[in-house]
Symmetry: C2
Subunit: 415 residues, 2 copies
């Protein structure tokens, strides 16, 4: 492939056919991709070894290298994931509404693909297939721009997808990979107005912030989760312990993990020791307010303002004792990234107040924040979790990768 | 009011109450605004005279001055418009979907206000009330930043709204006007991440482009309409003449007016003379391709590439004869701004093909493009017409001024 201008033109050309293709064609492309991934697993592993070796040579951390690394199982899982997307219902052509107006105009609102979606992402090569396939399924041409550390792996994965798309009879350029992995190509994507209808950054806070700051094309901001759990005075203590433990320790590196615990003062003396006992099993570091320290003793690190602001993504939990639910709500309003917030309570009124006043994509009563996920929400798949309010909020599935148009039929109406 | 930072903090504070206020409170604020506009019409006219005088002194064009100018009737119309918005259904708290998951989690997707909406607009002072009231109705705090030419009028209108909002028992800062009308304040709004959830520019192409280029907050791009009418070989000629005439001449300055006519070659010799006769009545200048000139003679100005690209917003129509529907579709794909496109045809197949392949907010068969409008679509009101695909497309009513959140209730579920 070639410079970004050509990639852009190719995508615009490809979307014309792709966006009005039948779902049967799109699904057959997906099935061919799945088959081809399995068939070429050795070739993929070979290319992946080159990336992994380079990573090791340049002293990349073990965690990062692991994200880059593929093995046979990971490839088979990838293929399996593609077949699952093929089995999902078509998000295109759904009639979302409409009416016959008094003047006889028949207005129908119908879901259609966005057109061209750009994805800028970091090391994980599975995003290449994941994002590519979700875009194809939803009738969108996709421009993929992965990190340079995965370029060999991404190149073969993109090639496999392009071949399968062509074999299915869809435009080859429905899937394109930007091979120029300099900062320049990312910047070109951010400014590709008239070409890219939607740009989704997937990766760390630095990447997402750079895209939000610099893009002139429409962007969906994803993935920052400074999630809170508030344990109300009326809460069941065993339930609260289970939920906080699960939300913090089941997978601390993901955006729906809990970062701060707020505890009503009337329950703090009972809850905190029980909770600490549980969290000690996973060696969770607690950073607490004065009262937390008084209850739990010296092992608790004092919490700073920064601790409340931070998405630890680690075995660390900030803890603050509050006077009442309103102080908890105020804390969350101040520090929340609008991702997932939870109250543990037996009081219907407290639950209602919390769900009404908290402004986040997902507001939980008595369940772990870890459920904020496309699969768990029944969307079947997700391209990311939006933390903005425009267009999509929370898990974005196939439906959120479409827009709509109005088709209007008349018999000569003028105004 | 004071510097933008304070305005931002005030808005964030105000939205906390406003966003979960009852629709009765919001409607009573609207009714008080309507009453107060009528009661203070003399004061408003007095302030408006200052703006109009300044405009005349600085040599503003008559068209611009007319947009600025208020009289008693225009104020009464404004009040009337506010009452109509009060009568519309509440867009907040609508349950958009949900399910009980296999694990027992009850997930409900519910419409909620965006939070804080910023509007940057030009001379028309009626936008101040219009936008202010639509934001209030949809539970959004609004930051209004009008043009300096209307500052006296906007100031009194904002004051009237703020007083009414306070009288109704809602936070006064639900409505704020930016009194610093320098470029600086507009730039601050464009970068107010964490404060402004949605920024809507309303005005000419220059303003909209500046916002799209510079904003880091989510933006809805509105209002550019390079709309086409394609007259197919099977079209009814009288219907085509009526539709083209209406779409071009009923109000040429608006975004849903037609700018280019495409005509199938088999009907061109019959249609074009009849159409020219009709358009001559409104002194429409035709800019045509070679074939158009051959049919209509020397009075037709030759069309340039630029004519096809341009939104004339005037009594000018570009005309091109095409070989078939695919040449028409290709032309539209190349030049369309994605606003409103129309085919006039008696062929079901041509109508289907056109509505399927054209990627625009509104795709018409046998009706004037002038219907792309919130009122005509049955939305009751509109804050603008989106020409982007993210979030909202075409006329944006109250529903499009909301986002959603998921409220999830469990009984201790962990993952």
């Amino acid at each position: 492939m070639t410079d970004f201008e050509t990639i852009g033109l190719n995508a615009v050309e490809a979307k014309k056919e792709l966006s009005c293709s039948s779902v049967d064609l799109r699904n057959s492309a997906l099935m061919l991709i799945a088959d081809s991934l399995e068939k070429h697993k050795r070739d993929i592993l070979e290319q992946n070894r080159i990336d992994v070796k380079t990573a090791e040579k340049t002293g990349m951390s073990d965690t990062m290298t692991d994200r880059l690394y593929l093995n046979e199982k990971r490839i088979l899982d990838m293929a399996d994931g593609v077949r699952k997307v093929a089995a999902l219902p078509d998000p295109v052509g759904i009639i979302e509404g409409g009416e016959i107006r008094p003047n006889g105009l028949r207005i129908t609102k119908i879901s259609v693909p966005m057109g061209v979606i750009g994805i800028i992402y970091e090391s994980r090569p599975n995003v290449t297939v994941d994002a590519g396939v979700l875009c194809l399924k939803s009738g969108n041409a996709v421009i993929l721009r992965g990190g340079k550390e995965a370029i060999y792996t991404n190149t073969i994965l993109a090639m496999i997808m392009r071949d399968a798309v062509a074999e299915a009879g869809l435009p080859t350029d429905s899937v394109q990979l930007v091979e120029d992995v300099t900062r320049h190509s990312a910047e070109q994507m951010m400014k590709a107005n008239g070409v890219i209808d939607l740009l989704i950054p997937r990766g760390g806070a630095g990447l997402i912030n750079a895209v939000v700051q610099n893009a002139t094309v429409p962007v969906i901001q994803t993935g920052t989760g400074n999630c809170h759990i508030y344990v109300d005075s009326s809460a069941s203590i065993p339930m609260a312990v289970d939920i906080v433990d699960n939300a913090k320790t089941s997978r601390p590196s993901v955006c729906n993990a809990a970062e701060t615990l707020l505890v009503h003062k009337d329950i703090a003396e009972d809850l905190l020791p029980a909770l600490k006992k549980r969290l000690d099993k996973s060696k969770v570091e607690l950073r607490g307010c004065e009262l937390t320290k008084m209850i739990l003793g010296k092992s608790v690190v004092p919490a700073t303002e920064e601790d409340y602001e931070k998405e630890f993504l680690d075995y660390i939990l900030a803890v603050r004792v509050v006077d009442n639910i309103y102080e908890a709500i105020e804390h969350i309003q101040k520090y929340s990234s609008g991702h997932s917030e939870c109250i543990v309570t037996e009081s219907v009124s407290a639950a209602e107040e919390f769900q009404k006043r908290i402004d986040a994509a997902a507001v939980y009563v008595n369940a772990s924040t870890r459920f904020t996920d496309g699969y768990e929400f029944g969307l079947g798949a997700e391209i990311g979790i939006s933390t903005q309010k425009l267009h999509a909020r929370g898990p974005m599935g196939l439906r959120e990768m479409t827009t709509y148009k109005y088709i209007i039929t008349g018999n000569g109406q003028i105004r």
